[in-house]
């Protein structure tokens, strides 16, 4: 690896300024049952003041371990860290645990992915911030609380003074992450380490947090080490980028260079796999370009024919679907409120068509999918498959009807029974509906395994032996074993690494072509949605606010919420990084209503053929 030696030069930001953090040849090993295993295999980089360095890689690349090694948060009995980590010239790896505690929080702030588990549920946020301040001896008592309020204000939490007395559970995910940032910044650290800080957040909230980190960095002049798997986020925040693969830095350079002319095939594959908004073609859904890792060339894939049966009746018709959940009150009183999870949702899905439901968490998109599957019983509305209203079917006939509509779930690790081998798992639906003999079921399972890109001789293996992407392929095979007409894919690719995601989406498109499948694709990922869908419906607080052909909705968004959603998607274009966008503090509102709430009558207007927008009320007036 001659390239390694070059990194040291390319990663030095500015020779005149002393770097805040300087990492040289960092190696981390873990003690496993097979002895010491090296996870991080020699990483070097520098971070200057006001600079953001992104460490990017897929799961298992060692990026989080790198961060933990720098903070020395690994269990010293189970791990070994070699090399050199200098914070403002001071070697961290040689410090005693006591000295290190002083550095952490004081000179080095940290934020993590799970803001909820990082906060103590039994203390108010004010107490927790004040505690950080008093531990490091900066403020105490009332002064600490006063400072905490100022910090909450700095992270743009509205009404900071009243929020001090809130407990973590009463804050939303985005607000909690802001509190975490406030705590990390409490002692004005020189370095902020952010480990996937926005991964668990909705896209509009992610945009807010990223903006906030950028602004605070400018104001405080600190260096930021940003760990992420998302190339879009990298382009948004990072000055320089280190790409990690299997514990090694395969490429390190300024973010612009990485995006424009990355040399390493892995880096190029990562960038190629990032879905970019605004690349959807007028010709309907197209494959993701996949980089051939052997030759290093990008394979765009042949053009997909139009799979939609425009002439036929829709296979799935949903009309005025409504689902509300009661919030139980006391023992003898009625419900204390009601979650209007799905409110009069209507759409049609034709054979060979993909309709995507997009929206942020809590918008009711998953509930819609589950209500259509009758995994939960909707209150009212009509769901018909090829003209049969499935809501009117009794248990027995519903069971038969399930042949035609199948579901793929989000978590590939949990959607397969760990005690049943995958051959049997795929054959189970086939046998349940008595579509053939055991022998035929086995052959079917083998055939399907091959079709989803796995090998038939894996049929006797158990789910635990497969990776996430492979498991999702198995789930797809299981859904296909009944030859359904409609597949409801609920966040089916959201949990996958970006390159795997691209491959699974491509597979789904291929299968659509082969079997004439219709997909109801439920996702929060706008860029994937743009790739895969013919039609898109944007959901907000249980209602569809805008729907139509993808090109129309994404190309000419009308509803303010659609616009906000589009604007929040990270753009993998480093040139846009310098623009500071205004930070909005808007939260997604709650769909919890009083018991006697009557949803307003909605008007819709048609912008262009098929492109329908809900008339929005005063709350959207700017």
């Amino acid at each position: 690896m001659s390239a390694m030696s070059n990194f040291a030069e390319t990663v030095v930001p500015n020779a005149d300024v002393e770097p805040v953090l300087s990492v040289r040849d960092l190696k981390t090993s873990f003690l496993t049952s097979k002895g010491w295993v090296e996870i991080v295999k020699g990483i070097s980089f520098d971070i200057g003041p006001r600079e953001t360095l992104a460490v990017v890689g897929e799961s298992g690349s060692g990026k989080s371990v790198t961060a933990l090694s720098i903070m020395r948060l690994l269990d010293p009995e189970m791990s070994r860290v070699d090399g050199s980590v200098k914070l403002a010239g001071r070697e961290l790896l040689k410090l005693s645990p006591g000295e290190m505690r002083n550095i952490r929080g004081r000179q080095m702030g940290m934020i993590f992915q799970e803001a909820m588990t990082s906060l103590n549920p039994l203390q108010t946020v004010g107490q927790q911030i004040a505690e950080v301040l008093s531990i490091h001896g900066l403020y105490s008592g009332q002064a600490a609380l006063k400072e905490a309020e100022r910090l909450l204000d700095r992270v743009r939490i509205p009404g900071a003074a009243s929020r001090l007395k809130d407990y973590p559970h009463s804050l939303s995910g985005g607000m909690r992450q802001r509190v975490m940032i406030a705590m990390a910044l409490a002692c004005k650290p020189k370095l902020l380490i952010a480990d996937e800080p926005t991964t668990a957040l909705d896209v509009t909230i992610q945009a807010q947090i990223l903006q906030l980190i950028k602004q605070l960095q400018q104001e405080e002049g600190m260096g930021v080490l940003f760990i992420t798997h998302d190339m879009g986020v990298v382009a948004e925040v990072a000055d320089r980028t280190v790409v990690m693969l299997q514990g090694k830095a395969v490429e390190a350079d300024s973010t612009e260079v990485i995006f424009e002319r990355a040399e390493n095939p892995y880096t190029r594959a990562l960038i190629a796999a990032v879905p970019k908004l605004g690349q959807g073609s007028q010709k309907g859904p197209q494959h993701f370009p996949i980089l051939d890792r052997k030759t290093g060339t990008i394979v765009t894939g042949r053009e997909r024919p139009d799979t939609v049966r425009h002439d036929a009746e829709p296979v799935l018709r949903v009309k005025d679907l409504t689902k509300r959940f009661d919030i139980p009150g006391g023992l003898f009183s009625g419900p204390s409120g009601r979650v209007h999870a799905v409110e009069k949702v209507s759409f049609d899905l034709r054979a060979g068509e993909t309709l995507s439901l997009v929206g942020e968490s809590g918008c009711g998109k998953s509930t819609t999918g589950r209500a259509i599957m009758r995994l939960i019983e909707p209150q009212s509305g009509e769901v018909s498959i090829e003209g049969t209203d499935i809501r009117a079917l009794d248990k027995e006939r519903m069971r038969d009807m399930r042949r035609h509509i199948q579901m793929i779930f989000q978590d590939p690790y949990a959607s397969l029974n760990p005690r049943i081998n995958i051959g049997e798992a795929i054959a189970e639906p086939f046998l349940t509906h008595k579509l053939g003999t055991r022998q035929q079921a086995r052959e079917k399972a083998m055939d399907l395994l091959e079709r989803v890109g796995l090998s038939p001789d894996m049929a006797s293996r158990f789910p635990a032996q497969f990776s996430g992407g492979q498991r999702q392929r198995i789930c797809i095979a299981r859904a296909l074993s009944l030859e359904p007409k409609v597949i409801v894919a609920d966040e089916s690719v959201s949990a996958l690494d970006v390159s795997i995601k691209a491959q699974v989406v491509n597979l789904m498109m291929d299968l659509q072509e082969q079997f004439g499948l219709s997909y109801l694709f439920i996702s929060h990922d706008m860029a994937v949605v743009e790739r895969i869908s013919h039609q898109v419906a944007v959901m907000y607080l249980g209602e569809i606010v805008e729907k139509g052909p993808v090109a129309a909705v994404f190309g000419n968004p009308q509803h303010p919420y659609t616009k906000r959603l589009m604007a929040a998607v990270p753009v993998p274009d480093p040139a846009r990084r310098k623009q500071l966008r205004p930070v909005s503090n808007d939260e997604v509102k709650s769909p919890i209503r009083p018991v006697d709430y009557v949803p307003p009558q909605r008007d819709y207007r048609e912008i262009s053929p098929g492109h329908i927008v809900q008339a929005w009320g005063d709350d959207w007036k700017v």
Binding site: N264, M407, A414, A464, Q465, Q470, Q503
Partner: protein, 294 residues
């Protein structure tokens, strides 16, 4: 340069087989290996009691009452002149049989009740749960004494007594596990493909809740042996003259100053077996639930 994260079908590594795993659990730590060995020895003794016992455990002899250990009778004799060692050896049969049958039966019924309550919920759950709560309110031993006092002693009565006393524990665990497994997407996936409820319970729920139940079962083998001994000691367990470790102690108590060896022998046997099953049970629980592992 090797490039990974590729989705070409790599051949996944084979999982260690059941026996490899079982061996690791049972023989992994020295104390567990000792306990496993102990259990094997006691089972061996129980099976081959007729071969190993030097005398008929019921044969009385007026001339050999309350003898101290000798060449002839290694652990001496009791107040009826019966050979204590032979009674201990035959007593292991009763004790172990009780020890195994009750927890297995309790696990069977308890799991069934728990799964039904957990899976169907609603009124069924409320009914089963309340009955279980009621049973749980009484200590096992007290409940066992109560029922034994009403029904009288005897092999099957005692089995029934201990089983009933153990059912709530298994039902509780099974119910809680079912509630969480029911939420798993693979169960939902099975519902979505139209799999019938009984099949879902048998194929998708029960295999996935068995681990803690097996661990509980092993731990309760020890309790069952202990409870049987207590009941026999109180005279409402195994009926004399049939030997059981509990009634050997009871008989020995009357002639404590003549020969303490019945009590010492039976006491050691009970201690060893109970300790061994507890150790093995702990090992299984640790292996199945990483959060409690050391």
């Amino acid at each position: 340069m090797s490039v990974i994260a590729e989705e070409t079908p790599r051949v996944p590594p084979a999982e260690p087989g059941f026996f490899t795993k079982a061996r690791k659990i049972l023989l992994g730590r020295p104390e567990t290996a000792f306990a496993t060995g102990m259990i094997v020895v006691f089972i061996f003794i129980a099976i081959f009691a007729p071969v190993l016992a030097p005398y008929d455990p019921l044969a009385q002899s007026v001339i050999k009452i309350n003898r101290l250990p000798s060449q002839e009778n290694w652990l001496g004799t009791d107040q009826f002149g019966r050979d204590v060692l032979s009674r201990l050896i035959y007593g292991s049969r009763n004790s172990l049989l009780f020890g195994f049958i009750s927890p297995v039966l309790a696990a069977l019924f308890g799991t069934m009740l728990g799964v039904v309550a957990g899976y169907f919920g609603g009124i069924v759950d409320r009914l089963i749960s309340r009955v279980i709560d009621l049973l749980l309110a009484f200590p096992e031993l007290l409940l066992a004494i109560l029922i034994a006092a009403v029904l009288g002693g005897g092999f099957w009565n005692i089995i029934a007594v201990i089983t009933v006393a153990f059912i709530p524990g298994f039902a509780r665990v099974a119910r809680a596990q079912t509630l969480s497994v029911k939420q798993e997407p693979y169960v939902e996936a099975a519902i979505a493909t139209g799999v019938r409820t009984p099949v879902i319970i048998v194929r998708h729920i029960i295999p996935n809740i068995m681990a803690p139940i097996v661990a509980l079962m092993t731990l309760w083998v020890a309790s069952a042996i202990r409870i049987e001994a207590s009941l026999s000691f109180l005279g409402i367990g195994t009926r004399p003259p049939n030997p059981s470790w509990g009634n050997i102690i009871r008989d020995g108590l009357n002639s404590l100053f003549g020969s303490p060896w019945p009590i010492i022998g039976a006491g050691i046997a009970i201690t060893l077996v109970v300790l061994s099953f507890n150790l093995v049970g702990d090992a299984i629980r640790d292996a199945l639930d990483p959060s409690t592992a050391r």
